[in-house]
Amino acid sequence: MSKHKLSLKILGLLTAGLSVTAGAAPVTLTIESWRNDDLAIWRDQIIPAFEKQHPDIKVRFAPTAPTEYNAALNSKLDAGTAGDLITCRPFDASLELYKSGRLAALNELKGMENFAPVAKAAWSTDDSKVTFCVPIASVIHGFIYNRDAFAKAGVSPPTTEGEFFDVLSKLKGKLRLVPLAMGTKDGWETASMGYQNIAPNYYKGEEGRRALLAGKAKLTDPQFVEPFRLLAKWKPYLATGFEAQTYPDSQNLFTLGRAAVYPAGSWEIASFNKQAKFPMGAFPPPVAKAGDKCFISDHPDLGLGLNTKSPHAAQAKVFLEWVASKEFAALYSNALPGFFSLNKAPVELRDPLAKEFLTWRSKCESTIRPTYQILSRGTPNLENEFWVVGAGVINGTLTPEAAAQRLQKGLSSWYKPAQ
């Protein structure tokens, strides 16, 4: 027994010695991610570009199914089997990882100066002193439409609320198409692509969001209730049985050409380009009256952090520095159109649809989703509640006013803003 142990020890020493002498042997870094949709792009485009410059570092992209990512990542971190690089969800999930010592502080990382404070906010402590993930991309909400269908119905992209419903009823009357491709089964679309898409125009983006955080505004105030009134009016334009229509159902409905408008997030662009056989266009969420200032949800979605337990921290930092570079920004935003780089350096986009989304940044003011920062820390969880009431309002089982009351009641039950 002890002999066995001894020989093991010797073997360990030997291999340790070997790895020191053979220092040039390539190190493999593993990236944890929930983006299994992007597996091919990382594997074939992004990683080879990095490996070409750093032949001593190999990188492996190892995604988990999105619904299991958080639970699986936490367990892997506990177990010490997590990858060297961790794809960061925005705000609290990652903040928690930093607080429990799972993610390393990256303030000193070369290239962090390439990001504006607002881009870093999603991966910084509440006092914004420490940043723990390199911001990679944000996603923008809006509507993607079928150009053929619009041409056939003789309508053009709406800019105001009135025009929006006008276009929808024309589409409904003239074509045997579903005007709007959205279902309420999975719930989250009604929050992300429904409310959080159209609402910033009413509560005036950051101004309204900050007022909510400061406790100066309530979700029952008219600027927060009005978007629910509009959502309630979507119902007649959805497919029959939309209550049981899932998110993939909606994607398929639109890309198979059976629906005209898709309330979207820009992340759909890459897959829609691949699947849709008709030309597509996009328009930003309509404003209340012509000439109103417009606001868009331009939401930080994805960053990359360093596992504190990584045995290859030095190499991982080299990779992160590359991720913070302009080169990566251009490569990534073009490989994955619809994920917009958060890097300050302007990036030339090739995809027309993604370009269209990006032009809104100059026309409209950007804001992030109202539930993500701080407000979803308690029970009941505000984001979850938005999913539930969003679906309820569209299904007609909940009035806009009742929805707003339920949200505010839940929020006030635990959130006491410093006034």
Binding site: N36, D37, A79, P248, N252, L256
Partner: protein
């Protein structure tokens, strides 16, 4: 008597009609999966009820699955984990069941109760503790970790079934063995164990399915590429934004086959096992 016989053929007709109806009901959804796995994406959603035709036949799903995943490796992982865990469950379960049903000793019923508790709680609830233990013992990302968890998960039911069954096995053989001076080990391994075969089959069928289909523990304990199981591997095709239906259907179809094969192997024994008192 002849009236009864006539009645029987009438009975047979009704029985066939009802059983056939429910058989179709049970199989149709599976048929839909398998059928659509061989179709193009447009055809899946265009006419989900139609079998693939020359126009819609498409193997793209299977091609993606075989190109992207190490499917043969995943399959071998699932297969070896399930088989070893099953063997362990049956062997250790039989030994414990023998001890509990054969001997009178203090704490016998308490031990039995202790095991029975396990039927009432899903092992998943203990995940944090299990993970801690696996980390401490360095078993994370090994198939051993999965095997151990599945044995622990299978044991309560296995002991319950096997102990019930052993009470129905006659004592004569064992007593004859004891008279001949055989040790308790010999009696168990050579005389009792072979008699348990019918009950083992029921245990196998009931504990194997959850092991094979489990998504949770492979995800938590062995998510590494080398230890991935088939169910976890198939999951990789269900993405965040776009679901690659062709691949999902193909992967699901592939994952049905092995369970089906295993069931057919065991099914003959299943009824015999249950009938002979394994579960009553």
């Amino acid at each position: 008597m002849s009236a009864a016989r006539d009645n029987f053929s009438g009975n047979h007709f009704v029985a066939h009609a009802i059983l056939a109806f429910f058989s179709v009901l049970a199989l149709a959804p599976i048929a839909i999966i398998v059928m659509n796995a061989f179709k193009s994406r447009d055809a899946i959603f265009g006419a989900p009820l139609e079998p693939p035709t020359t126009g819609t036949f498409d193997l793209i799903g299977f091609r993606t699955v075989f190109a992207n995943g190490n499917f043969d490796a995943y399959f071998m992982n699932s297969f070896s984990v399930t088989l070893v865990a099953l063997g362990g469950t049956i062997l250790f379960g039989s030994m414990a069941a023998f001890a509990l049903s054969e001997y009178k000793f203090k704490l016998n019923s308490l031990t039995a109760l202790f095991f029975t508790m396990g039927i009432m709680v899903p092992i998943r609830l203990g995940t944090p503790g299990i993970l801690e233990l696996m980390v401490a013992s360095g078993l994370v990302n090994t198939r051993t970790a999965l095997v151990l968890v599945y044995i622990a998960q299978g044991l309560p039911m296995a002991i319950f079934i096997l102990a019930e069954y052993m009470r129905t096995v006659s004592d004569d053989l064992k007593n004859a063995g004891r008279v001949d001076g055989l040790s308790e080990y010999v009696i168990f391994f050579w005389l009792v164990l072979p008699l348990l075969r019918p009950a083992m089959v029921s245990v196998a069928v009931f504990t194997m399915i959850p092991m094979w289909n489990d998504l949770w523990f492979p995800l938590i304990l062995a998510p590494g590429e080398d230890t991935k199981t088939l169910t976890l591997g198939a999951q990789a095709f269900i993405g965040q934004d776009v679901t690659d239906w062709n691949s999902v259907l193909a992967a699901l179809t592939l994952s049905i086959l092995p369970v089906l094969a295993l069931y057919l192997v065991f099914s003959k024994g299943l009824i015999r096992g249950i009938t002979s008192g394994a579960i009553k």
